[in-house]
Point group: C2
Chain length 512, copies 2
C-alpha cells in the first residue's frame, strides 16, 4: 500500500530531524552536481549594465522572449540565477561505463508532441531534431496488488470511448473512466482559454476540488484511481489540491485530457535528440554575452521612465523588464514600489507541483525482450508511472519514473538512499528482478531546487481563477509577465513557454 | 446584488490599467501615512550586531518571544521591516475635529475575548485595560434586498440551537444554519489541534472546500448565505478557497464557530483601551534598543554554529533565529543553504486572506438612538459586516466594516474614492441617511501592505494539512517558526500570536 501522508514514519523523521536541530537542506542550483553541458554562455554577475529590455529567467520562456526582441533589433539582456540556462529543463550525461559518451537523459521536462506548433517550429529553427518515444509492446498496470499486462488495442470499442488507452484489468472501471474522460473533455471545451472565469459554469467549477468532482461523479474505485493517477501525473499534485476549473482549463489548453496522457500522437509523442535542454542552450548560445548567469535578482525598482533590476553584485537599467519565472518565485522579488495587492496575492496562491523525476540505467532495455514497452501505471508508490527513456539506439536501457504529489512530499524528506530503495522496489514490481540492479540511479527533486521550487508547473487551488485571473498577465508598471503558466495554449508545456515568450516580446516591443 | 468577480467593470479596470502600462501600486509601510504613535522604540538599520537570538518581525508573536527570552537572560534582538512595531495591529488617531485628542481606532486586529487567556494575561502584565464592545440594541440583517431588525433573544429556542445569534428574517434558514453550526462544531471537536492530519476523517475533510461541504449539506440559500458570511468574515476568503479540514481546525482552535462569531462572551467581546497596537508598543518600549526598525530581512545564512540575519545595510550574528512573520512572507527570504522543499512548498500554499478594514467617524453614534447596536450582517457588499467601534465614552460615533474575500479583491484595484463610495452606500443601506456624511473615512487594505500582504491571517486550501502539516513548526537548522498561524490554540488571534511566541521562546531557550 502507498504510505499515507500522516504515517508515523514520516512524522518521526521530521521529529528526529527537528530534535537534531536540522532537517535536510535543499540544493541551490550553484551547489548541484556539475553540469558541464550547461555552460553554453557565460555571464558576469558583477557590475552595472544597460539594455532596452531586461529578461529575468533563462528558461525557454525568457530566452524565447529575448531571442524575439533581439531579432527585432531591441537591445536585450537576460539575467539568470543559476549557473546554467534551461530552467526546468536540464540534461544529464549518463555516467554508466556501458553508456556511449554523450548519452543524455533529461532530469526535467523532456517531451513534445503534435499540436505543440510553436516549440516544434523553434526546435526546427534551432537545427534540432526529435525522435519517437518508444512505445512498442504491452503496458503494465499494477492495481490492488495485482500486475496485469495489456495491449494497446482493445478488441471491441464500438462507442469509441478510448478504452484502448486504459488498463483493462477491470473493464467496468475502465469504461467508467473512459466515459468520465469524455465528460471532462466536453466540460473543458466550455472553458475559454483566455478568460476561464467567464465560463458559464466557472463558479460551480472553481468552488470545488477535482477530488470533489470525482467523489460526486464516479462510482468505481478503479475509475477514481485512474483519474487520480492522471491528475497526479499531469499536475504533480493531488486531485484534492487542484481546482476543477483549473484542471478543465488545462485539459482544454493542452488539447484534451486524452491527448495529455497519451504517448504516440499525444503530449509524450517525441523526445529531442541530445536532450531538451538543448532548446535553451542553443538559444543562449546565439544570445552570447546577452545572457548573464549566476545573477539572482532580488530587487526590481521601477517608475514611469524605466526599471532597475538588481542582485547582490549587479544591476541592469532598462526601459522595461520581463519576468519569466514560476509565478511563486516572481512573488519573492522585492519590488519598489511594491506591486499591487491583487498581483501579490495571486503569487501567494500559485503553488508549484511536487515531483521527483527518477531514472535507472540498465545494460539493455530488458523489458523489451519480454514484450513490454516500459510504460507502467500503478496505484502504489513511490513511483506510479514509468516510461522507456532509453537512448534512440537503445545501447543501454533507461526507465524513467515520476514520484508526484503526496508521494513526492514523503520522498522529499528522505535520504537519496531511501528514495532509491523505494524507486527500485517500484521498478522491480513492474518489470521484474532484472530491474533490481541498475548501472546508475538518477534523481531530481524539483521542490528542493532553490530556483524552481517545484515542477512541472504551478497550479491553482479552488477560487483563484475567479478572483485573481485578471492579474495573471496584466503588466505592473513596466514589469511584464511570461512563463508557461501564463500561456493560453499548452499551458505548462514547452510550447506554452515558447508562446508566452512570443506574446510578451510582442507586448513589450509595442511599448518601446 | 453583490458584484461577481468576473464582472466586466473589474476586467475593464485592469485592461485600462494595463493599457496605460501601469496599475495601482501597493504601499510599502515606510511610505504609508505617518504613524506618530508607532515610534515607541527606535532602531538603527545600519551596521553589524550580535545577539544570542535574533527575532524577525516585531508583531505580537515576535515581541512576546523576545520579551520571554530577555526575561530568561537571553541576549535578544528584534529586527522589523516597518518603521513601527505591531505587525497586523495598527492604531489610527482619529483626525475629525470633533474627536478628542488621543481618540484611537485600530485599522488592524482589535478584539479579545474570554478563553484568550495568554493575551489577556499579557494585557494585564503590560498595565493595559479592556472595555466591552458595544452591543446594546438590535441587529440589522440585509438579505435579498430587504433590511430587517432583530433582537438578541429569540422567544422560543427549546433545542438551544443558538437561534438567538442568527438573523430571523427567514426562520427556516436560521434553523438550518443553527443546526449546521452544531454539526460543524461536533466535527471540529474531532480535529486534533496539534496534528489535524491525524483526525479520523482528515482525508475526507481535506479533500474538499468548505463550499463543497455547504453545497452537499445545506438546502436553504439563506443558511448557505449565513455560513458564507461567517467564513468570509473569519477567514477573509471565500468558502471555496478554504479546506473544510482547515476551517474545522480553526473552529476548534478558536473555541467554537459560535464563539468566534459572537461579540459579548465571544471573540469580539472586548477592546483594548488606547488601541490594540499598545500591546506591541509597550513590549517594544520595554525592549528598548533591542528592537531595530526599518530593517527588512532579505537573507538568512545558517550552519551548525549559528545564523546571520541580514538586510541591505545591516546584519545580525546570533546562535539561533525566530521567524515571526506571516508564513507566506517567511517564504520570500533567501535562505543559505536553501530550506528543504517541504518547508518551502508549505509557504507556497499558505496565502493570506484579503481584507480592507473601513471605518466612518460620525458626530455621534446615531444608530444607538434608533435602538441599533451597530452590528449588521448582509449578503450584499462591499461591506457585509459591521460593528459599533465608537470610543468608550461615545463622544463620536464610529462604524467599522469589513470588506473581505472576493469583495476585497475587487476593491483592491479601485481608487480610495471608489471604495469610499461603496462603503458609504453599504453603511447607508444598513443605518440610514445619517451614515452618508462621515466626518472621516478610514481604510486599510492589508493585501497592499508590503510587509503583511493580507489579513487577518494565512489560511490553508484543501490538501495542504495532509501533506505539509508536519512542516508547520519544524525548525530548519537553527531557524525556528512563530506567528499566530503556528499556534494550536486560538490560531490567528492575538492570543495565538502570544502562545506561539511563548512556545518558540521555550523551544529556543532549551537549545542555547
Amino acid at each position: 500500500m502507498s504510505k499515507k501522508p500522516s504515517d508515523f514514519s514520516r512524522r518521526d523523521l521530521l521529529k528526529a530531524a527537528a530534535a537534531l536541530g536540522t532537517v535536510p537542506f535543499a540544493a541551490a542550483c550553484e551547489r548541484s552536481s556539475p553540469i558541464s553541458s550547461a555552460q553554453a554562455s557565460s555571464g558576469d554577475t558583477q557590475g552595472s549594465f544597460n539594455a532596452q529590455v531586461v529578461v529575468v529567467g533563462a528558461g525557454i520562456a525568457g530566452l524565447t522572449a529575448a531571442r524575439r526582441l533581439v531579432a527585432a533589433g531591441v537591445d536585450t539582456l537576460v539575467v539568470e540565477a543559476c549557473d546554467r540556462v534551461g530552467g526546468r529543463t536540464l540534461n544529464h550525461n549518463v555516467s554508466a561505463a556501458q553508456a556511449l559518451p554523450g548519452t543524455v537523459v533529461e532530469v526535467g521536462g523532456q517531451w513534445v508532441g503534435p499540436g505543440q506548433d510553436r516549440v516544434l517550429a523553434l526546435i526546427e529553427e534551432l537545427g534540432l531534431s526529435t525522435f519517437k518515444t518508444f512505445e512498442d509492446g504491452n503496458y503494465i498496470d499494477y492495481r490492488n496488488g495485482l500486475k496485469t499486462q495489456y495491449g494497446h488495442v482493445f478488441p471491441i470499442d464500438p462507442l469509441n470511448l478510448g478504452l484502448n488507452r486504459l488498463p483493462l484489468t477491470d473493464p467496468v472501471a475502465a469504461a467508467e473512466a473512459a466515459l468520465a474522460i469524455e465528460t471532462l473533455t466536453s466540460m473543458a471545451n466550455q472553458v475559454p482559454l483566455d478568460m476561464p472565469w467567464t465560463a458559464a459554469n466557472a463558479a460551480a467549477w472553481d468552488n470545488q476540488t477535482f477530488q470533489s468532482w470525482m467523489d460526486a461523479n464516479l462510482v468505481t474505485p478503479g475509475a477514481k484511481s485512474l483519474l487520480q493517477l492522471a491528475i497526479e501525473t499531469l499536475f504533480c499534485a493531488e486531485p484534492r489540491e487542484v481546482s476543477l476549473l483549473h484542471a478543465l482549463l488545462c485539459f482544454h489548453s493542452g488539447g484534451s485530457l486524452e491527448h495529455m496522457i497519451s504517448t504516440t500522437g499525444g503530449a509524450q509523442d517525441s523526445r529531442i535528440a541530445g536532450g531538451s535542454q538543448l532548446i535553451s542552450l542553443r538559444m543562449a548560445q546565439a544570445l552570447g554575452s546577452r545572457v548573464l548567469l549566476r545573477a539572482p535578482v532580488t530587487r526590481i525598482e521601477y517608475n514611469d521612465k524605466g526599471v532597475r533590476v538588481s542582485g547582490d553584485q549587479f544591476s541592469v537599467h532598462a526601459q522595461r523588464t520581463i519576468i519569466a519565472l514560476p509565478p511563486t518565485l516572481s512573488g519573492r522579488i522585492t519590488y519598489a514600489p511594491p506591486v499591487n495587492g491583487l498581483r501579490d496575492q495571486l503569487t501567494q496562491r500559485f503553488p508549484m507541483g511536487s515531483v521527483i523525476k527518477v531514472q535507472c540505467v540498465y545494460p539493455k532495455p530488458f523489458w523489451r525482450d519480454a514484450g513490454l514497452n516500459g510504460q507502467a501505471t500503478s496505484d502504489t508508490g513511490p513511483v506510479k508511472s514509468t516510461f522507456d527513456n532509453s537512448p534512440p539506439d537503445a545501447h543501454v536501457g533507461v526507465i524513467v519514473g515520476f514520484i508526484t504529489g503526496s508521494e513526492a512530499r514523503t520522498a522529499i524528506m528522505q535520504t537519496r538512499e531511501q528514495r532509491m530503495a523505494g524507486v527500485i522496489e517500484s521498478f522491480v514490481r513492474y518489470f521484474g528482478e532484472q530491474a533490481r540492479t541498475p548501472l546508475e540511479y538518477i534523481e531530481r527533486d524539483w521542490a528542493s531546487e532553490e530556483y524552481s521550487r517545484g515542477g512541472y508547473l504551478g497550479y491553482l487551488p479552488p477560487g483563484v481563477w475567479l478572483d485573481y485571473g485578471i492579474a495573471m498577465t496584466a503588466p505592473v508598471g513596466r514589469i511584464h509577465w511570461a512563463g508557461s503558466e501564463t500561456s493560453d495554449i499548452n499551458r505548462g508545456y514547452f510550447d506554452g513557454a515558447v508562446r508566452s515568450g512570443e506574446r510578451v516580446a510582442e507586448e513589450v516591443a509595442a511599448l518601446l
